[in-house]
């Protein structure tokens, strides 16, 4: 069963957090990813740039409305995702609990309904 872990947290930068904190976060993420990989549960993942760089598009009556800024202007933003394949929700909760992001934000666990293999939904 595939679950996507969505990491929501208050965004920080080198200026607000300091270089040492950023470096520590990166080390923790490297170690977490290696642990997921070694356990054979890691499907993929991505850390996103800050929502300052995000653009949203919506098409109404054939016209595309392109806007700068995130979909929801909230204090905590989606900062990255990791997809894992584990037997059940308890296993997913256990991995979410160990995510470094759980220390400084919230980890949301969504069961996957359908995913792509070679361009086909399965």
């Amino acid at each position: 069963m595939r679950y996507t872990l969505l990491f929501h947290y208050q965004e920080g930068s080198v200026e607000t957090l300091g270089e040492e904190v950023i470096a520590e976060g990166k080390r923790a993420m490297t170690s977490y990813a290696a642990t997921l990989h070694a356990a054979g549960v890691l499907i993929g993942g991505e850390v996103l740039h800050s929502s300052e760089l995000t653009t949203t598009v919506r098409v109404t009556e054939g016209v595309a409305h392109v806007q700068d800024g995130p979909y929801a202007d909230t204090k905590e933003q989606l900062g990255g995702t990791i997809i894992i394949d584990v037997p059940d929700l308890d296993a997913a909760i256990d991995w979410a609990r160990r995510a470094p992001q759980a220390q400084w934000g919230t980890v949301e666990i969504r069961p996957g309904a359908s995913h792509l293999v070679e361009g086909v939904w399965t």
């Binding site: 069963m1 037997p87 059940d88 929700l89 308890d90 909760i93 666990i109 069961p111």
Partner: protein, 383 residues
């Protein structure tokens, strides 16, 4: 055998085995709703057939076989084929084919942990147990919670969908997770006892089953003792504890409850349910000694207020203080933040009356705040 006898036999089988059968049927694919439908079909078939054939030697096994066949029919049906692909696990699993239902009663325990899983909405946990483990109808549960039947039905459907689609596992947590996972299960079973307080004692049966299956969890034995001792004093209509005649209590249940309390052998300080059970045991002991040991209650409430300082416990502790040091001391010990809490007004009224002060307004306030007509009638008669 008459239709009435068949119905009574089916109802007995339902009470004893409903949760076990739902657990067995639901576990493989996590589909509680399908298990309940299949089981409801099996009970209907029992009511049709048993009057002619008599109750089978193993009614539980009979119901399981029929329900299993019905569930397989759903999986094979055209609707299932065209609406949704058979998932890999639903296509080949039938782990129940050869087993003896008496040999694996543990599945019921797993169902309890599913119902009180942290990923299930807290307000849905007790209703889910009442329905899937104890076999109550959604409409009955809705009545107990004073919400519209459609609201309760929706809450239950949502919870079951979550169990299936988020894949909440049918497992008993390991010892490492038990300290986090057991308390919500005990809370939900306790909630069942508060709601299903019928003389049949369904929730007491569930609490005892939980304690037996877990073996060595002190708080589970505490809850088994608490529900058993409460059931021993159960009666229809309200009579305040003081005015109850101990010879009306069920002596066998009191012995049983005390035995469960002795089984609770905590490795650390006793938890909330053991303390509440001990408080009940002190009250029940009036049957043997003819008086209430207020000093023992005082000690137990002092411990309870450290472990679980609920408003109810604080009010009850003040009532005990009133018995030991006089009603004025009891009034002074009452919590001050309980203006909308019915037991506060009932206790305050009683303490005022004992102190020889005017208790009329407090009795009326207490009567207004209760949903139970027999409690309201008693309080108004005192005012």
């Amino acid at each position: 055998m008459s239709a009435d006898e068949a119905r009574a036999a089916a109802e007995r089988a339902a009470r004893a085995s409903y949760g076990k059968l739902v657990a067995l049927l639901a576990a493989p694919a996590g589909d509680v709703a399908l298990a309940e439908d299949a089981l409801a079909g099996a009970f209907e078939e029992a009511l049709r057939r048993w009057p002619a054939t008599g109750v089978p030697a193993n009614p539980e096994g009979w119901l399981l076989t029929v329900a299993r066949n019905r569930r397989r029919d759903v999986w094979k049906s055209a609707a299932a084929r065209t609406c949704a692909p058979l998932t890999e696990d639903s296509a080949h699993i039938d782990p129940l084919a050869d087993h003896d239902p008496y040999a694996i009663g543990d599945k019921r325990l797993e169902l309890l942990f599913v119902c009180a899983h942290p990923a299930i909405d807290e307000t849905a946990r007790t209703p889910l147990m009442l329905q899937t483990v104890l076999g109550f109808e959604a409409a009955e549960i809705a009545r107990a919670y004073a919400v519209p039947p459609a609201t309760m039905a929706q809450r239950l459907v949502r919870a079951k969908k979550r169990i299936k689609q988020a894949r909440i596992p049918f497992t008993v947590p390991d010892r490492r997770s038990m300290p986090d996972r057991l308390p919500p299960v005990l809370e939900a079973v306790y909630g069942c006892a508060a709601i299903a307080s019928s003389p049949a004692g369904e929730a007491q049966y569930l609490a005892v089953t939980l304690a037996v299956l877990l073996g060595n969890e002190a708080e589970a034995w505490g809850l088994a003792a608490l529900t058993t001792l409460t059931l021993a004093r159960h009666r229809t209509g309200f009579v305040p504890l003081d005015a109850q005649n101990p010879s009306d209590w069920d002596a066998a249940l009191i012995d049983e409850g005390e035995a469960y309390l002795r089984r609770a052998d905590p490795s650390g300080p006793p938890g909330r349910f053991q303390l509440e059970a001990a408080i009940q045991a002190v009250h029940c002991d009036r049957r043997r000694t003819g008086h209430t040991d207020w000093a023992a209650l005082d000690t137990l409430y002092a411990a309870l207020l450290i472990v679980a300082p609920s408003l109810g416990a604080r009010v009850a502790a003040a009532a005990v203080r009133g018995r030991i040091d006089g009603p004025e001391a009891g009034l002074a010990a009452l919590p001050t933040d309980a203006e909308s809490f019915q037991p506060y007004w009932a206790t305050r009224a009683d303490l005022l009356a004992r102190a020889g002060r005017d208790a009329t307004a407090a009795y009326h306030r207490a009567a207004d705040l209760t949903d139970d007509p027999s409690v309201a009638a008693f309080l108004r008669s005192r005012a």
